[in-house]
Symmetry: C2
Subunit: 288 residues, 2 copies
């Protein structure tokens, strides 16, 4: 069994990984070799000690080089759920694999796009965060897909293969998907509604001439770069969308730590790096 | 009046300064252009994100360059005391200057050399941390001087000009001071003792042939790279020698924040950088 699983390859996750490596712990770092969309988009970083006015792209390159030199791999699977068991954690990925570890560090960032009203209420009752996990439930049905990043567009394709009708609400420009059964809506919905299950997506006004303000749907997929930690980990204590942590980055769940933007403001590289480091030390301490 | 005074030019202080500069706050950064003895002594730093296997000297150079590019000056005075008044702070330096600010960030590091028994008890009653502040009290008297770093050797010279007899206990090699009235002792004292005031420095055994295990002294100077925050700031809450802080790096004193090693373990650059950043954001928030 692994000593630790790190969820997220932003600066907090990388900081934790470097320190766990120094401490000779076994771990997996889940994320992407493109490191972090948020970091790479930064124009200039003025207040990161040691790197004068570095660009986000340069910072990402430096981090990638550092990981490779330290022989740390980034596991390019998307974590779908973290389950706290008696004295270990089981981590399931959207790719359908499971991994076990004694501790977990959540470094999954924070989603800048807010939740839609009704989203949390209907999780598991028509609202899903994982195309490959739940897509098969919507064979021949009508679904809406809210997608915040082009990097997840392949998941929309996967859903369009299954569902009869897909309403796509993209939060990015340059949408490339072209399918007869995919209609793009460029308006933000106001509410996900339903009874026992989701049945309606509401808009403030009809989003297009042929689309009603109360759009009938069977399911709603939320494809986001970051899944909310509270949704990822059952029983995790959060406040205002952030994981509640102590000074040692411990959460309310024994063996589960958190670091970086997911623990709250300021959303800063320096803070994330510091918290990743502290979380890794706390993990090492915990494993004793 | 300044928005903030930062005490300490290690990585925590520099991180705070860079962020206060970004936030367009007025501040002074007290410390040294040689940055931090602790950083410069590091052989290789393996786990600081963005800089692969950098040496301490290289890291210091990068920080110096960054400060200069950001037009941040390091005020090379040694802070002797921080006084919390109603809604501002007065900072006094050993050079005899006073400065005022609305907030303070303590980033003064942690002294690796432990306190000597009796040290805290006799502060202000024979134990002093500042040669230039209290030296004149010992004209023609016998004093002991405990000194952790060669960088403070000039203060020993200053004291030797005033006192009749100086017992020097250096914690560094290559002592250069040569005065007839200075005797070097290469043993660690076990206790500072006295009645109303300090009168004896105790050793486990006679430290040299002609020096007794119970050495009569009139005063004891502790010359350290870092002064304990609790001694620097009256009324500051500490635990086990560390400043007690919240998640936003606030202390028990309104407007007084702390960051870096002085807040506790792990003593790591990444942690210090993160805390300096958070403290600077908390200062900006507080000033609103």
């Amino acid at each position: 069994m692994l000593d630790c699983i790190i969820v997220g390859s932003g600066v907090a996750g990388i900081s934790a990984a470097l320190t766990l490596q120094s401490n000779q712990k076994s771990f997996l770092l889940f994320g992407s070799w493109s490191i972090s969309e948020k970091v790479s988009k930064a124009e200039k970083i003025h207040n990161y000690p040691g790197l004068s006015d570095v660009s986000g792209v340069e910072f990402c390159e430096a981090l990638k080089t550092q990981l490779k030199e330290a022989k740390i791999d980034v596991k390019e699977e998307k974590v779908a759920g973290v389950y706290a068991l008696k004295d270990k954690f089981t981590v399931m990925t959207q790719e359908g694999n499971t991994y076990e570890s004694r501790t977990v560090i959540l470094a999954c960032g924070v989603e800048s796009v807010k939740q839609i009203e009704g989203e949390a209420e209907f999780v598991g009752r028509g609202v899903s965060y994982c195309a490959t996990c739940d897509g098969f439930l919507y064979k021949g049905k009508t679904i809406a897909v809210f997608c915040t990043t082009k990097r997840l567009e392949h998941e929309i394709g996967y859903l369009a293969d299954i569902a009869e009708k897909v309403y796509l609400i993209p939060m990015y420009k340059d949408v490339q998907i072209q399918r007869d059964n995919v209609t793009i809506i460029r308006k933000m919905p106001t509410k996900i509604d339903g009874g026992l299950r989701v049945n309606t997506l509401r808009f403030a006004a009809p989003p297009a001439e042929d689309i009603p303000a109360e759009l009938p749907i069977n399911g709603m997929f939320m494809l986001r770069e970051c899944v909310s930690p509270a949704i990822l980990v059952g029983g995790l204590e959060t406040a205002d969308g952030h994981v509640v942590v102590g000074r040692d980055m411990s959460t309310n769940l024994k063996g589960c730590f958190a670091a970086g933007d997911c623990t709250g403001r300021p959303y800063q590289y320096a803070k994330a790096v510091g918290e990743g480091n502290v979380a890794a030390h706390a993990v090492s301490e915990y494993l004793k």
